[in-house]
Amino acid sequence: MLQRSKPPKSHRPVFTLPTYKEIDVGLSKPAVLFEKPDCETLKIEVVFKAGSARQAKSLQAFFTQKLLKEGTVSFPDQGVNYTTDLHGGYLVCGSTEDTTSVALYALKQNLNELLEVFFSVLTEPVFEQKAFEREIDVERNHFLVQTQKNSYLSALAVKAHLFEPESLYYSKLSVDDFDALKREDVQAFFSTQYNLYEADVILAGDVNLEQIKNIQDRFFKAVSSRAFKQSEPLKKVLLQKPNEIFIRKKEAIQSSIRLVLPCIDSHHQDFFKLKFAVMVLGGYFGSRLMANIREDKGYTYGIGAFVKSLTQQSYVSISTEVGIRHTRDTCKEIFYEIEKLTQIAVSQEELHRVKNYYLGQLVRNFDGVFLHAEMYKKCTVIQQEFSYYAQMYDAFKNMTSEDVLETSQAYLKADKVTQIIVGEA
């Protein structure tokens, strides 16, 4: 007779840190290659330390990367986009607080044509005035649409209320910033901050020796074509005092709630423990916050908590969208759940559930070379070695209920939380 009430036996997954090859491409660090022979695809990504943290003017980093594809010396006007599309490539640029990355996704068979464009984008964008104006206009309109969303406004408010105005990472974006930016600003940002010599280069997929040689030659040539200034030190982080911010939006149907709490960073010995405690609180579908606020009370479609890691500051972030009549109750319940973590040890059942789930998540995040490359990038950004993930696996495996309790008591302090509500309360 089939025993349906009892679960079949299960096992904790084993995590093996993937290996990679190093290739000298003439930069300060070797490029890394996560190889998968016999696949038809290849990704190559260059990560510059050119995030918004290094900009002198709002939106400078964002528009610099946005304009990389809008014309280069060898591929003027729409040449970059036409050539990339024609050969089935994807050229993806993006910037964060700490980095700007330029990635090429290609079918192996079209790699040579696409490398030509890729290196042109990295070394000789022209930032035409017409393209600049057009992109500003498109993004300004996009910003106007976004600012109609309470969730967007609350996310913006985090940067404006967590950091002091003269601090690193402070930002208070408004529509005027789009008009204040000049073409010269993006040109200057490119020439001073896109330091190829100091960049990280990450490859994944199938690449033959001839193609590696081609990539090496192109990097050597690119890096010798101009002199790079060493990056200047970053400004300091200055945190504001904890605060309650309420931005009323009349006729709102839902309120967007963000709770942020500055915390220790990935180099601190308790960091993995804190990550784990935040996972218990709101890091997965069965978390305390989901169980209480969605599954028990039905106030929201979703609620989550995670640790945001920037190079110079990390913080715990809790976010949700709730029906306006539940705004205050939701905040109350979030604080109740934080409090509970600091007072009552998690049960063995819950500890093992979170542990197993989290370890499974780690294994999922490493399924295939393209994800290996992604994870490599993530740890590089926060200035960690790749072995960071093996340490993380061990730390999670060894977590105890006392660890969760002590870590929560040490770092999840309700009186250090800044609360942001956009909507009605």
């Binding site: 089939l2 349906r4 009430s5 679960p7 079949p8 036996k9 299960s10 096992h11 904790r12 997954p13 696949c39 038809e40 695809t41 594809k69 729409q78 986009n81 036409y82 990339t84 599309d85 024609l86 089935g88 994807y90 996704y105 079918l107 079209n110 057009r134 206009d137 498109v138 309109n141 996009h142 649409v145 109609q148 969303k149 309470n150 149907i253 839902q254 997965y284 579908f285 069965g286 969605r294 599954e295 009370k297 039905g298 106030y299 929201t300 479609y301 969208e321 029906g323 093992h352 559930r353 197993n356 789930y357 370890l359 499974g360 998540q361 294994v363 999922r364 399924d367 295939g368 393209f370």
Partner: protein, 414 residues
């Protein structure tokens, strides 16, 4: 080429197995052949609400998520107009946990009043979050009933109105389950690091005693041919005027589907597409504009949606769109345009197939559409599209009497 094997259980459950020994994971995808199109007109949104209830516990297992998390698994689900799809990924060693959980909720759900009440609230918040509390969020609540008059594609998956969700009762839940959530109305696909023979045995072990249901042969009324252009004017607190123009197109399994997909790609895939070049860069009429298709079991929609630059009238914007569409009808596209969309289709297929879960989902989906083997013919079908097919399909699609237009204006008070 995605290799797979099939097996059908005596209760009608179709099983697809795909082995990939390079991954430490297994993906288990369960597709139920029921979606919003199977709902009654006065109880819309039910298939999706039901999807939420599937996580509220089953006959022998009080909670679905907790044991899966304990086994290092992750899961989610989605509902669309045609299907409801549940998926799990977990370490290969724990495959049986997924089968234990999925088979128990196929056997019998725990029909609980508390779960129903809570999930009604959750879904109502989802309705607000996605459809009401967003600029332009209600577009499909307006466009679907404009384009479809008879066919149940005339309401979105979330439902026509919040009231329908509030009104759902436990007896409806039970009836729905025994009608649609039977093994003979489901497709199970398992992909990853598996042993084929052992996996078949495990599936037989957990699923073979689940009774089959009455085969579903509900006939859905076809949408009558549209004979004149339909228009709707709507205004809301949005920052930019927007236009949505939709045309009836073929179904997902029709021989012209791939050419139709390419028509939308020629128009708007990537910065080198026609809409980007002409309507945004050259003429400066739109802030953003897209063309895409809704591929569905029954004839779907070809959608053009754009946000107008301030100062551009709806008339001028629509005229410019129509001109682009007309050119596709009257003049052959350049061979490079076809080369571009073919190359893009090939690389996007290659990158998407890297992900194990995508392979599991696609195998189940193509089996639902007729035969999982067709997944391996997709690229050939795209490659076979000729320049002449693009013009021919454009001529069939882009007729005034086949169009419905929503003019979404920003409120004057702003």
């Amino acid at each position: 080429m995605i290799n797979f094997q099939t097996h059908t259980l005596s209760n009608g459950l179709r099983l697809i197995l795909h082995q990939d020994l390079s991954t430490p994971l297994v993906a288990v995808n369960t597709l139920y052949r029921v979606g919003a199109k199977d709902e009654e007109v006065k109880r819309t949104g039910f298939a999706h609400l039901f999807e939420h209830l599937m996580f509220g516990g089953s006959k022998h297992i009080a909670q679905f998520d907790a044991p899966l998390q304990m086994a290092s698994g992750e899961n989610n689900a989605f509902t669309n107009n045609d299907i409801t799809n549940y998926y799990i990924t977990l370490p290969k060693e724990n495959l049986e946990i997924a089968l234990w959980l999925e088979s128990d909720r196929m056997l019998e759900l725990d029909f609980s009043q508390k779960s129903l009440e809570v999930q009604k609230n959750v879904v109502i918040e989802e309705f607000k979050q996605r459809y009401l509390n967003q600029p332009y969020g209600d577009v499909w609540l307006k466009l679907r009933p404009l384009a479809y008059k008879i066919h149940p594609y005339r309401w979105p998956t979330i439902g026509k109105e919040i009231q329908h969700i509030s009104d759902a009762e436990l007896k409806d839940v039970e009836a729905f389950f025994y009608t649609y959530y039977r093994p003979n109305n489901a497709i199970l696909s398992i992909a990853g690091n598996i042993d084929i023979a052992k996996t078949i045995d495990l599936v037989e072990k957990w699923y073979s005693d689940i009774p089959s249901g009455v085969p579903q042969s509900k006939s859905i009324p076809p949408e009558p041919k549209q004979t004149e252009k339909r228009v709707l004017h709507h205004s809301a607190d949005v920052p930019l005027n927007a236009i949505y123009k939709v045309f009836h197109m073929c179904s997902r399994t029709h021989k012209d589907y791939h050419a139709t997909d390419f028509v939308s790609d020629v128009l708007s895939l990537g910065k080198s597409s026609r809409f980007q070049a002409s309507l945004i860069r050259e003429q400066g009429l739109f802030s953003s504009i897209d063309a895409y298709i809704l591929g569905s079991d029954d004839p779907g929609l070809f959608v053009v949606s754009g946000k107008l630059q301030p100062g551009v009238s709806f008339e001028k914007a629509e005229e410019a769109i129509d001109k682009e569409l007309d050119q596709l009808k009257t003049k052959h596209i350049h061979p490079n345009e076809l080369k571009r969309v073919k190359n893009k289709a090939q690389s996007s297929f290659a990158f998407s197939s890297l992900e194990l879960l995508n392979r599991a989902m696609n195998l189940a989906l193509f089996e639902h559409l007729g035969d999982a083997q067709n997944l391996n013919l997709e690229l050939e079908k795209y490659a076979a599209v000729q320049i002449e097919d693009i013009s021919r399909v454009a001529q069939e699609l882009f007729r005034d009497e086949n169009s419905s237009v929503l003019y979404y204006a920003k409120n004057k008070k702003q």
